[in-house]
Amino acid sequence: MQPPRPDAARAADPLAERFAAGAAPDARPEFRADLRSALLTRPPAAGGAWARLGARPGSRLAFGPAATVGLILLAGTALAAVLIGGAGIWGRDSRPDPGGISPTMPRSAEPARSDRPGADAGSGRPASSGASAGLGDRAPGGAEPVAPAAASPTLPSPTRAPVAGGATPPVAPEGALPQAPAPIPALPTAAAPPSNPGTGERGAGREDPEPSATPESPSATPPPPADTPIPATETPAPTSTPLQPTPPFATVTPVPETPTASAAGDRR
């Protein structure tokens, strides 16, 4: 037993006397002896690394803090993987359609769109100049087949096949086109006047006063080079009048020979 150390201030304190008088009794000797023997004979902390990590020896929980943290991290990783995977699967279906063709659209509708009468006879390609790719579902004429072909490589190629002269329109399910939604009136006029002669609804393309708009489309770019060199080569004398070469050019009309029927479609 270690008595309280003497202190001058404490000795002069009346409370110290009362504490000394009313000090708590000592512990029972048997308790003190039992505890001492238990402490001295206590086995060292068992458990090895787990005990060093904090697991109490004799604890029912065999894991230490490190193992617990590891389990929590593992469970969190697994949960995150499941959530990310689920979001990827679900997001694929709910993703907005960038090119006007949604993957969820039935395949049967795509050929119908490309085979509509407006796409035939080669006139569709020049008309595609103003067709917006985002509105490919109702692009006038044969414009939108460009976008679907880029959007879905599995689309059937007949959309490009009819370009050859326009004389062989693919067998189009006629019922598909009339059922297509009506085009927004503002967009076809603003973006590109359709030049589809096949469909009467979109006949504005024929009235297009500027076929020059067609070169903007990637499909219509070949015709202008085809037109321009011809006057340069076939009319060696542009000296007379600049307007003269055009009639012979129009009469010569290599249009059937040119593989690109867009020119013919424009002239038509």
């Binding site: 037993m1 270690q2 009313g22 708590a24 009794p25 003190r32 402490l39």
Partner: protein, 179 residues
């Protein structure tokens, strides 16, 4: 902290006999401190056993910083006593809990009943600092190390606790005289 105790502490890290010598040297002081604060012999014995068990486990991490070894023991005891009081507060919320019969089972630890009652009326903080100062005989800097505060704060807490204890003791003596 004497050189002898420094040597004992260093030896107690690996030698159980040295730890036994520390136990013999400080057991009574620690027990009285605990008993003063909990007021129950059985609880005091339980907490004392827990204090020494923790000390045996944690003595490998003990750092000699010029503070008496017993101050470290008082810190362990203070934490365990605080945990005990916290559990007691929780049990008081439970109707018909084990605390209902505690006053009847409680055995008085000392003959100075008035001092015990006066201390029981003080807050835990006041009881702690008074027990460390009067019961354990620690100096304010040592108490500051136990309570993890500054010596100035210990002086302030000690002064307040002392004045409150005096008021209670005077009030009890007047009540006894009037009775």
């Amino acid at each position: 902290m004497s050189y002898d105790e420094d040597w004992l502490v260093e030896a107690a890290r690996t030698d159980r006999q040295a730890f036994g010598m520390l136990y013999d040297r400080h057991f009574d002081a620690v027990y009285r401190y605990i008993a003063r604060r909990v007021g129950d012999r059985a609880t005091a014995e339980d907490i004392a056993a827990a204090v020494w068990e923790r000390a045996l486990i944690a003595i490998e991490r003990y750092e000699v910083r010029g503070v008496p070894f017993i101050a470290w023991l008082y810190r362990i005891a203070g934490n365990l006593v605080s945990n005990h009081h916290r559990r007691q507060r929780l049990w008081r919320m439970v109707p018909f809990g084990p605390h209902q019969a505690a006053p009847q089972r409680r055995a008085r630890l000392d003959d100075a009943a008035d001092l015990h009652d006066a201390l029981a009326g003080l807050s835990r903080s006041d009881q702690e600092v008074l027990a460390l100062f009067y019961e354990a005989g620690l100096t304010p800097p040592e108490i500051a190390d136990v309570l993890n505060c500054t010596p100035a704060a210990v002086h302030k807490r000690l002064h307040r606790a002392r004045s409150r204890l005096k008021q209670r003791l005077e009030g009890e003596s007047r009540a006894t005289a009037s009775a």
